[in-house]
Amino acid sequence: MLLSKNSALESKDNEIFEVEESIAIQSELIKTMTTMVNSKAYVNERNQMVPEARCRKQANYHVEQNNKIVDEELSDWESKFFEVDMDDLHELFMAANYLEIESLLNGVTKRVGDFIKACKNVEVIRQTFGINNDFAAQQEEEIRKLNSWNHI
């Protein structure tokens, strides 16, 4: 029976997080950076780039995720976790992308995806995400027509 081991992760702002190893290796990046020596885990490189706030959020996410056993509970909790504004979503996104955490990435992208799906049309998407329409009117019309599926 293995005792749970803790990894020490240092963030960009020099704050040290003690995270259970099984949680730390959910990040593909951290997994590849750690090596096992004499049954103790060493962190070879410090996690320099990720600012504190992100790290904390991520650590919390995993602790909570592991505490939830029932699937239903987990999906309920997950939807609430991701019910944050675009700013936080962006933070989570950057963290999940850099640290390569599949489950976190799935949750965040799904939420942003829901935002997009909620947009009634292409113009609303542009407004929500501040995207500049760089098509000429005729070009846009052509693309729209080619990709419409309306038929009698």
Binding site: D85, T109, V122, I131, N147
Partner: protein
Amino acid sequence: MNPKLMISSAEKIGNNQDLLAQILLRLPAKSLIKFKCVSKQWLSLISNPQFCLSHTRHQGDEGFLHATALLLKVQYIVSPEFDVVPLKHFSQVPFFDYISTSGLNILQSCNGLFVCEALDDDLNVSGYFICNPTTKQFKKLSFLQNPIKDCEFYVSLAFDPLQSPHYKIIVVREVLENSFIFELDIYASESDSWKIATTIFETKEEACMAFEDAVFCNGKLHWNSYGNQSLYLVVEKECLQMMPMPTKLRGNHRLEIYRYFGESGGRLHLAVTYHAFIDLDLYVHQMASDYSHWFLKHRLNVGDAMKVFPELNLGCHPFTSGFSGVSFVGSERKEEAKVVIWADGKIICYDFNDGAWKMMHDPGPGLKIGTPFEGFNHLHEQRFIPYKYFESVYVF
């Protein structure tokens, strides 16, 4: 929350190629098609073959793609139109009219790509196309060895985006009229080149091969046959093999009518209809994984279906609506397929998981899906041919 801050975060996401790709990867294909006109960056990303392959693969579930819908094509009608039977969410599927041709027949559907033959006004074949209905992308096939007058010429497709981003076209063509001697050509999209006559083989007339009815799964292209044996091609190895077909039933005045050939979850299925006076049986077989034999999964009786759906005219007398168009569709548990049948304007299925007949799609009270061609209401005619449709942004 400062609104200005909020906009800028959203902007960062919307304009960041990597993040955008991650988000769009998880949206359904039909949404992506609509978003092509958002901006040039979005168009470029959604049309990028690498991204499209990733997206297609993301739809895979444990190594298989699940069909979005069935397209029901009326037999003998060469119109680019069809009826849609949704399997997942409601689907609209564009008709084939973007391929400008007088008439069109679907030859085969394969994991998101279709191969079709185009016909001219005199109903002669004027060309062959592969296409992806979701994106309306299509391409005319060109052959090194063209069809010879009065000789058989069959075109099939081998494509599985979960295994490889490339596709292969397999042509089986008779070398001399009525000779039953065939050559097999293979085209590889990866190298854009043909290998001519990789195999030369002879079948006998009594072999009753149905080269027009091909099914690709597990890296092998299989052909239907009404004889005792059939053929399949191990595509990568370009190696032609034989496989048994189920032995015909004898006696009991049972007349074999049709062999419906298909696959689900990587397993070959064959449903054979037997007519005995007023009764109709559907024997559903599944091929063993070593191709040594077919085992009978179930003997379905249309009489049982009639009891479950008394309002449907499932009678198997000649000139009644009866049923048509058998297809095999994976259910949630990918091991067991459902046998899907068009029945008097509704779509019913037999679910092996529950051992029960169910209504799969009912367009509404008094409404019927599909209008079979009036002249062919006989039991022996297959009025509808179902093809699996996979909503996919795949670019070839």
